[in-house]
Symmetry: C2
């Protein structure tokens, strides 16, 4: 299977989560254990609780199992290579059957209890009513071994891409010009550009800009290079479920430590969902109205609703201070006398708002952030724009419009939905993404950015530019005569990608040649609807996939997505973070006889 696919929701998966322990970015083995077995063996400063602290220490240490026998000193455990144990990740198909069945059972139980679930397409209401027709999300039984250097490379790129999207979004002419030919042949892009033009006409400024992106990569086997597949700037899915899958794998590795001989700490903690929730909460605070809601634009049927619900749940449960924070300012007048007469008189409110809570705990939770889910059709019916630009939907002021729909033509069955999109774009609500962020993530822009000297228009730092350029695969438009000639002679080395979202629309192999020749003979401008991309050949690895409670031994290829969150206001950048990751593993198409050919599942990574 080649490269080039993966839309915001291109998995046949639906999805959910983001869990308690997924809290920090980049924690992977960076912290040295205070339990250095040689010189600080008895660290009495170490404090409980167990599960978090001790276990982390433990798993960072190589000192784990002490050989039984006559020895009276502590010895280091031998690595699996040393003791000749087959690495179960590299050879999952030869796992002992009893162990395999235990792992499968425990993994299924874990996902059921922890909300690693999706709607079951065989159950009628599973895409509309939560709690009905749930099935565990498809996942791999074990994490995928992945080179740490490439993982770090991808993580480092996240803040640069965050910044790049923001810069590109501000250059309205660049977007319009780059997409001008695409516009003529791709009606969907054309509609987006139309809205974008209107915003340029009225000189609409987005002062608070929120980006929740995901950049997808594959590791090319031959060149050993990490190459970008695409950058999602709208509806980056699976922050919730991907966080959970990392936890699932960590839990299995812990529980079967003795038998698997793998170290759970080598699976990076996945903060995707908490990081997204935090960025949303901060943006909400920036909007500065405690009564305003977060509007999630959804599809009318969504089997991946639990992925979205996890994000909303974290937003509501974990960031009450953001909600109360605003209330304090509103009510501070009422409290001033009491406040000053008590012990807190010297406190600066802005800087030390935690102290405010100590004095006024009753403020917390008097108001939670409210999350509202609506389809574009509903927004059209219930939405209105006040003269000052305030967006009202269903009678409620909207602080943030967070799109988990609207990236595909099918989300706009009529003019009503385009009306809703325009209405929101015109408003002063924070859009995630704005129309220009959305356009900055199109494949055509990706291809334009890969042209010589284009990155330099948007980024200053040469190192950053080099890093970004290094992850670009070969990208060309169809008017590049030399390249097209080469494609026709060696089509197996290229992929043709339409603007359409969804890897299913990509063209591979001999079809590339045929399509190119047809386009040439027709002489229309339809070629502008496509870009050409170097075909990436990732390593095919044996894996065990789980779907519908059944495990499949398959050969598969994987794609790494790195989430990024970006938030800025008029003055400054408030958030520019790498936010966890998504690993997706897909049955290799070279394995067409496979039972589960073609389906993609959630995975995590084990750093080598």
């Amino acid at each position: 299977m080649g490269a080039g696919h993966s839309t915001p929701c291109s998995l046949s998966l639906p999805t959910t989560v983001g869990f308690a322990t997924a809290a920090t970015a980049f924690p992977i083995n960076k912290l040295k254990s205070p339990f250095n077995p040689t010189n600080r063996f008895c660290n009495t400063h170490f404090r409980l609780p167990f599960k978090t602290a001790i276990e982390n220490q433990l798993s960072n240490s190589t000192l784990r199992v002490v050989k039984c026998g006559g020895s009276s000193t502590v010895e280091e455990i031998k690595t699996q290579e040393e003791i000749g144990v087959k690495n179960p990740m590299a050879h999952p198909h030869s796992l002992d059957q009893e162990l395999l069945e235990q792992l499968v059972y425990d993994a299924l139980v874990w996902s059921s209890l922890r909300g690693l679930v999706v709607g079951d397409r065989s159950v009628q209401r599973s895409g509309t009513v939560p709690g009905v027709g749930m099935v565990h999300a498809p996942f791999t039984l074990l994490p995928l071994s992945f080179p740490e250097s490439h993982y770090r490379q991808a993580c480092e790129l996240a803040p640069i891409f965050n910044e790049l999207v923001d810069r590109v979004s501000l250059d309205g002419n660049f977007l319009q010009d780059s997409l001008s030919r695409t516009k003529k042949v791709d009606p969907f892009t054309s509609r987006l550009l139309e809205i974008h033009s209107k915003m340029l006409e009225i000189d609409k400024k987005e002062e608070i800009r929120l980006g929740l992106h995901r950049s997808d990569y594959m590791l090319d086997e031959q060149t050993n290079m990490l190459l970008q597949i695409e950058l999602n700037t709208i509806s980056s899915s699976f922050p919730g479920l991907s966080s959970l899958v990392s936890e699932l794998h960590r839990s299995l590795l812990d529980q079967y430590r003795e038998r698997l001989k793998l170290d759970s700490e080598k699976i990076p903690r996945n903060s995707a969902v908490s990081c997204f929730a935090e960025a949303l909460a901060k943006a909400w605070t920036q909007y500065d109205n405690p009564r305003a809601v977060v509007l999630i634009v959804v599809q009318s049927e969504e089997r991946n609703m639990y992925d979205q619900h996890w994000l909303c749940t974290l937003l509501k449960e974990r960031y009450p201070f953001c909600h109360a924070y605003k209330l304090i300012y509103i009510r501070i007048q009422q409290y001033r006398k009491v406040f000053i007469s008590k012990q807190c008189k010297s406190v600066s409110l802005e800087k030390h708002f935690f102290n405010v809570f100590r004095c006024f705990p009753q403020l917390i939770n008097t108001h939670n952030v409210t999350v509202v889910r609506k389809t574009l059709t509903e927004i059209d019916a219930q939405g209105e724009l006040l003269p000052d630009g305030t967006l009202i939907v269903g009678g409620k002021e909207v602080a943030i419009v967070y799109f988990r729909a609207g990236y595909s033509p099918t989300d706009y069955p009529s003019e009503l939905e385009w009306g809703a999109r325009l209405l929101m774009e015109q408003s002063s609500a924070i859009k995630c993404p704005s129309i220009s962020y959305h356009l900055a993530g199109t494949k055509k822009i990706q291809q334009e950015l890969a042209k010589p000297n284009v990155l330099e228009r948007f980024l200053e730092n040469e190192e950053d530019i080099a890093k970004v350029r290094r992850c670009f695969a070969g990208l060309w438009s169809l008017d590049d005569v030399e390249v097209v000639k080469d494609v026709i002679s060696r089509p197996e080395l290229y992929v043709m990608k339409p603007q359409r979202e969804g890897g299913g629309n990509n063209i591979y192999g001999d079809d590339v040649r045929k399509t190119l020749q047809r386009l040439q003979s027709e002489g229309t401008e339809e070629d502008a609807a496509f870009i050409l991309m170097q075909r990436i050949f990732p390593t095919i690895t044996p894996t065990i996939l789980m779907r519908d409670g059944i495990f499949y031994k398959e050969d598969a290829v994987s794609e790494l997505g790195i989430y990024g969150a970006y938030l800025r206001n008029k003055e400054k950048v408030l958030v520019n973070d790498q936010c966890g990751y998504l690993m997706r593993t897909k049955v290799s198409s070279s394995n067409e006889g496979g039972v589960a050919a073609g389906f993609a599942v959630l995975d995590s990574i084990y750093l080598d």
Copy 2:
């Protein structure tokens, strides 16, 4: 609907959980808030983190919402009575439709993400494969208002009943004599007694005795008395899911604090599942072999498997120290030199084993407790008894046999299953319950204990005796001529209960009279298969029940179960606790036209 039903699994529910926050017993409003608004308003000793500490403080305080307006001082919020708001628990059917729909949606999302799930009977593999065909467990949308005094009364009874069961179990003759007539007509009880006899013959002692019980009560409306329905000593179900439902209701009350005007702290924290897990872990430690497993005896199909999985998950995840604890003793020889040469030399291992972990974190998780699930049929095939009494099942030594099956004749389709039960009973594994604990929970014994001067045989403390007696409903055997005469004239005031588990077998109303008359005319000993019980008439309250993603406004009655955990060894009692609660609400049979007539759902209580 009258009293008298409820088996260990009599709900049409399956079930699951037991959650992170469900950690302490009896926390209900016992703690006074340090935020006394009048004299300690700014308590600088108060410490974060927020979610737990501040919110608890907040909800304990009546000072919550400050009226907006000119006032510059802090005012106490008016109660809902004062401001004329209808209590939404007392009048759930008149909840505002928009609020109702939001509550319903959020409750469904919460249960999906938090594992408040059961197997969906309409999906084929939902009772055998975890993660497949899940649906939210049926529950009430809001908690049930319940008098605090009666709740406390029920809680206080738990340790007394724990002790009582233990004492009764030791009196083999009492069990045999009391059940001698039942034995003749009830083949199931007869088989249990047969095993019990064999144990008496070989003078089998259970030195470590573990009880995980649940005593069920109803509140009789007319007398305002809390009366015991039955005492479950085997397979007390729903510790997991009941813990979760309390958390669900707390979460809804927090989130809709402004609109519902209810205080989530008035829902007692439900520690059922963590408390059961702790008792199992302690029993496992008592067995004193770190390699021995916990064997869960299960039915071959179990839609309530998630309730069981929560318990096992907590056992495995939350009590690693118990597991490692044993390993330390085994390996201590190896460590002694290091141990003594380091800072821990003065530590007494037995008393301060926490310190051991500080010094030897690598011991934790080198061995998890292993939980194995088997049906009685499988145990028959895979089980063996070593000459020293050790129970081996599937090649593994068994420390604890925990029954979540085996309470019903249908669990013993052939002699094989009875063989398995006998095998386990003969072994030195800890049985939860042992055959005598099982028998001590039969209805006949309940009725015998209600006879004058019987409690005095087992309990010394007069106060305890009085407390227990106060919760006994009228209980009679069918050879009580006076009572039978009364029953025939006023059958509506009685229930006839067979030894059979399951409320569905109880006889009510005119059927009681007919059955009694038939038994009298036949003159057989079949009457010994039944007991007579005073019919309890609990208050009928309006409620909103959720099932299959749909809400139903119904009139319902409720039953309160209080969990108890008991563990002792040869020397002393190690655990004797009340452990959270189960509230079940069932559509009142007087409401036969109701859409959902006859189904019971999980509930929680709101203390008045």
